[in-house]
């Protein structure tokens, strides 16, 4: 019988690689009976989805629009580029 600690590990690992069948079965048996681990699994899945979505939104430039470079950083970058261009 798996302990909650082992289950938390398997819940995490199942997102990183395919678990062997027997581990998957044990994991599901535990999850069906343990509401705490079930809650942990749901939280981990939500974190997984949100992080992925947020990462993609930033890449497509549809989030965090308010974050901008400071004006002096911008000027510094231009000066550095200028000095390297010549």
């Amino acid at each position: 019988m798996l302990r909650c600690k082992d289950v938390s590990k398997l819940v995490s690992e199942s997102l990183d690689h395919k678990l062997p069948l027997c581990k998957r079965l044990n994991l599901w048996m535990h999850l069906c009976m343990c509401g705490v681990c079930w809650g942990f699994r749901k939280a981990v899945l939500r974190i997984h989805d949100e992080a992925h979505q947020h990462g993609a939104e930033i890449e497509h430039d549809s989030a965090e629009q308010k974050i901008k470079l400071f004006d002096d950083s911008r000027e510094r970058m231009k000066r550095t580029l200028e000095s390297h261009q010549s």
Partner: protein, 195 residues
């Protein structure tokens, strides 16, 4: 024909204009991955310089922004590898932090159980991300970095291991610790805010 187009495109590149055109976008991207304003600025600067030195590699296919983003991604990975080189797996984390969450028998500590059972469904996306960001900042750097590459960038286990020069089982351990801490932090911070 393609050569001519590429040459024309090369001539059309205006590196100084990149700062105004793409600076904010690249900075946002870098900041979201590195969580450190100074570091983000540094990699954006490096990206522009590398772009300037390698304008000949911009084939004119695809967008300038996409090309610069590709460079930035490599700079971010280099930066992350560098900043984690000095810390070893064990010393950063103070050993296995999961002891904080489980009793000696390996069950969840009683005081955590109610929070874990409570669903997060009513937590809106924006709110969720705001809290999670704060929780990421509270993680040891290496854990947070691995989490970001794996979850935000959706890199495969193999890619992250290669980029950070760690083994797959190291990666799984780091991800487990990160997810444990993030889940607990998220639940407890949300609870504090709603009470």
């Amino acid at each position: 024909m393609d050569d001519v187009t590429a040459a024309e495109n090369r001539e059309a590149l205006e590196p100084i204009a990149w700062v105004d055109q793409y600076g904010d976008y690249l900075y946002r991207y870098a900041l979201s991955r590195l969580r450190d304003g100074e570091a983000a600025e540094e990699v954006v600067q490096q990206t522009f310089l590398a772009g300037l030195q390698h304008t000949d590699q911009f084939a004119g296919k695809g967008s300038e922004r996409g090309w610069l983003l590709g460079i930035l991604k490599r700079k971010i990975v280099d930066f992350i590898r560098q900043r984690n080189r000095t810390s070893s797996l064990a010393d950063e984390d103070g050993g296995d932090s999961s002891e904080a969450f489980f009793d000696r028998k390996g069950n969840w500590k009683p005081e955590l159980r109610a929070a874990l059972r409570r669903p997060l469904d009513s937590l809106e996306r924006e709110e969720f991300w705001r809290i999670l960001r704060g929780c990421l900042d509270a993680l040891p750097t290496r854990q947070a970095d691995v989490f970001v590459l794996r979850e935000m960038d959706d890199l495969s286990t193999e890619e992250v291991c290669k980029d950070l020069e760690i083994t797959a089982s190291n990666l799984w351990v780091l991800m487990h610790r990160a997810r444990l801490r993030l889940a607990m932090c998220l639940k407890s911070r949300w609870e504090q805010e709603t009470c």
